[in-house]
Amino acid sequence: MKKFLQKIIIYSTIYFISAFAITTVVYHYLPDNYDLVEDPYLISKLNYFTAHGNEYNTVFIGSSLTMRHINPVLFDSLTTTYGINSYNLGLPGMRPFRTYDLVNRLLNNKSVQLQYILLELNQLDLIQSNYNNKSIMYSMDHEKFLFSIRSTFDSNLAWIKKCFYLFQYLRAYLYKYSGFGLFHLLHPLPISDEVTKANVLMQEHTEGFYAKDFELRNTTNDNIKEGYLAENMELLEDTSVISKNIELQISKYGQKYLHEKQSIYLEFLGNLRSKSKKKNVEIIFVLPPRLSETATNSIYPVYKKLDINQKIDLSDPKKFPEFYTVQNSFDINHLNSKGSNFYTSYLAQQFLRIIGGKYKKASKNTIDQSITSNSVTLVKAQ
């Protein structure tokens, strides 16, 4: 028995060390396969964007809070004097590091001629339960693992949360470097008809923007329909979620955060910004509304430390009450198309402040027209 257990332990250790070494070498020499591992939604948008790289000078990157909320057509119309042509590269569920990977890819792409990147600030929630997700696996490397560990220790999260995140990072790291899922990274993800349809629509008509109520109207997939309607109903049945988020967002300004230095994360963002400066691209960090409590507590201390000219805060319910009304909402986390037009208008206003432009306030008519034109566009596209 003792001999058996000894052998198991010795051979397992040898196996893991060898597998780690082999996998590290394989990943180092593996040709870039971003288009095989990332979400087909994003790859399709990205391919379109890079193919038309010289037509756009501004891009929005972030999660669904970016994809569902920022309407580039409206944004461009409000900033047209300054020659802004923008595209929305937001993707549901896309958070750091995936967003930073995307920024780096755009900065290294010579066919893209960017001036501005509006990057959504979100918590460093790399893994969640998706440790074996292809895009997470692609993103994880030794450097990012070390960064994740350092920044988790440096964050203001509760210890229990820290332990949770550390476990998640470690699991994702070990999973990748023990060779798990290696061969899956060589296969593209399947592309459903729904994704193809949505991408054609976004590419040809909405510059990557897709509000959830537009999608609900456009989709033929019953599961999506049912899911969205349930999310919509959940909000209508209990609107107190919004008032609670208002309280949270207001209280964050007066709150003293423990361990709020977040120096590691700030250092990372600073490096990203320096790199972009060298390529003559300005990164502007956007703090979106309606972030969860964990995300707010995690990211707001980071936001506070950023330079005033590199950041936009759209989370303040006092300044932007339109983002916190049921009428402008689709579900607990997302605005509807009407709300997204408010969001885009305010974002354009803040953006012009940073680039030294003058904002011409969008009238209610402009916004209404934008909503109508979007609806018409979508109806035509269908």
Binding site: M1, F4, Y11, A19, I22
Partner: protein, 476 residues
């Protein structure tokens, strides 16, 4: 809990350590421990069905004890019937209720009238077909006085719920497994070592062969109306390897796991795709179920003792019942029927036991005749597997029609061709090892190539893993 999951990777070593270091000495405590961990293993899917397995065990245990106390043939028969009614009743309700209701209603529509029926939203308890047959075999053996009933309820619970083989077999006989719960276990290094090898090979078959084949098979069966015949043929072949890798992989993991605890389970697969005729195939495929049907259905029906008609009737009965055992769908019934048809000519010509023993014994390659026999047997099983995999009979016939008549010789999808070398290596390994219980028994090989092979196979399992696909046979 799936064998190919993180949970099981934690569960197994924990149970192993506790079993050998804490519970080894006292048999009663050890059996109680095995029942507890087996119930945790099973309850991981749905704890509500634990009551079902407990109830089934309680009924058969009690009936077994009662059978021992009475010699009256009528009373004994009543007890046996009671066991059959309870076990098959539960199986029938959970597995076949909706099928019978819907089929009954469909039959009415054939005559131009409609019948309003009420299907129930019934969740099929995992592995119910397996443990029901296992407990039934106990009662029948006790009834036949081939086995003395146990008076140790905990040991009986352990026999019914023993976690390695609980949800997908092998379907154990009480005569083989039950006595093992009454013996003191001494750790056997060679047995445990062999068990580890068998688990690794089982995982390889499941994760690398079956799950990879499944991605192509699912795609091909979902788009069969647009694909050329050559691709559809490959779809059938890949499904044959998917179901083999999946099910025999599960059996290997189950048998290997049992070995770690000092238990010996019956063999369930013996390289079936190297069979020279369909009769040999059925002696090598899902052996625990085939022999169950032989012992508890075929022989009581008269077996092959009667005339030709009786042979035909009994053979077709067990093949159709075997098909129906797999699921409540006409496709399974037809699959069983088709295999029965394949079998009949051999039976009637008295050649069904012609190919006993391993093919090409003592030779490294088969003769041309053997090779052609193996190819033909494999081909006809592929045809039958298409019915097994299809969603309905109509789909299966359309699939076969396209397979034979729509561009059968065109170039298949290039991505599938990339998988074929791996499949070929797998077949070659199984061929070389065909005389051994499992293909990863490396015996007296030098430690360097031996452990390199272990390393390579584990690395492949890791590399191909990613999604935890359930085993196909869980649904049966």
């Amino acid at each position: 809990m799936l064998f190919n999951s993180i949970e099981f990777a934690i569960f197994l070593p924990t149970v192993f350590i506790l079993y050998w270091f804490v519970f080894k000495e006292n048999i009663k405590n050890r059996n109680f421990f095995l029942v507890a961990v087996s119930y945790i293993f099973y309850g991981w899917w749905d704890w509500r069905f634990l009551s079902l397995i407990f109830f089934s065990s309680l009924v058969d245990y009690t009936i077994g004890v009662r059978l021992n106390k009475t010699d009256g043939p009528n009373h004994r028969k009543v007890l046996l019937i009671l066991s059959l009614v309870v076990n098959l009743g539960l199986l029938g309700f959970f597995k076949y209720y909706n099928f019978f209701v819907d089929s009954f209603a469909d039959a009415f529509t054939l005559f131009g009238s409609s019948l309003e029926t009420r299907s129930l939203n019934i969740v099929l308890p995992v592995g119910i077909s397996f443990y029901t047959f296992q407990t039934l075999s106990y009662t029948i053996d006790v009834y036949r006085k081939q086995l003395k009933p146990t008076h140790d309820f905990i040991a009986f619970l352990a026999f019914v719920s023993f976690f390695p083989q609980l949800v997908a077999g092998p379907i154990e006989r009480a005569t083989n497994l039950l006595p093992q719960f009454f013996t003191k276990k001494v750790f056997n290094y060679q047995l445990a070592h062999d068990g580890i090898g068998q688990i690794i090979w089982g995982l390889f078959k499941k994760v690398v062969i079956a799950d990879t084949a499944a991605t192509f098979v699912n795609d091909i069966f979902a788009n069969y109306e647009t694909l050329p015949g050559s691709t559809l043929f490959l779809g059938g072949v890949l499904f044959a390897f998917q179901i083999y890798g999946d099910f025999s992989g599960y059996s290997d993991i189950a048998i290997g796991t049992a070995k770690l605890f000092g238990f010996s389970l019956m063999r369930n697969f013996a390289y079936p795709y190297f069979s020279r005729d369909i009769a040999e195939f059925w002696r090598r495929w899902h052996i625990s179920l085939s022999t169950w049907f032989r012992d508890y259905v075929y022989i009581p029906l008269g077996g092959s003792r009667g005339g030709k008609w009786m042979k035909v009737r009994n053979t077709m009965t067990i093949f159709i019942v075997s098909g129906f055992w797999h699921g409540a769908n006409w496709t399974f019934l037809f699959w069983g029927f088709l295999n029965g048809l394949y079998f009949l000519p051999l039976l009637l010509a008295g050649k069904n036991r012609k190919n006993i023993g391993n093919v090409s014994n003592g030779r490294s390659l088969p003769s041309i005749i053997e090779f052609l026999q193996i190819l033909f047997t494999f081909f006809i099983t592929v045809i039958a597997w298409i019915f097994f995999r299809a969603e309905n009979i109509g789909q299966a016939f359309t699939y076969l029609n396209r397979m034979f008549f729509i561009r059968p010789l065109s170039q298949p999808d290039s991505e599938i061709l990339l998988f074929l070398p791996l499949l070929l290596i797998f077949i070659v390994i199984e061929w070389i090892q065909r005389n051994k219980e499992h293909a990863f028994r490396l015996g007296n090989l030098h430690p360097v190539p031996k452990y390199s092979a272990y390393f390579l196979i584990i690395f492949l399992i890791s590399g191909f893993s990613g999604s935890q696909n359930e085993f196909i046979y869980f649904q049966f």
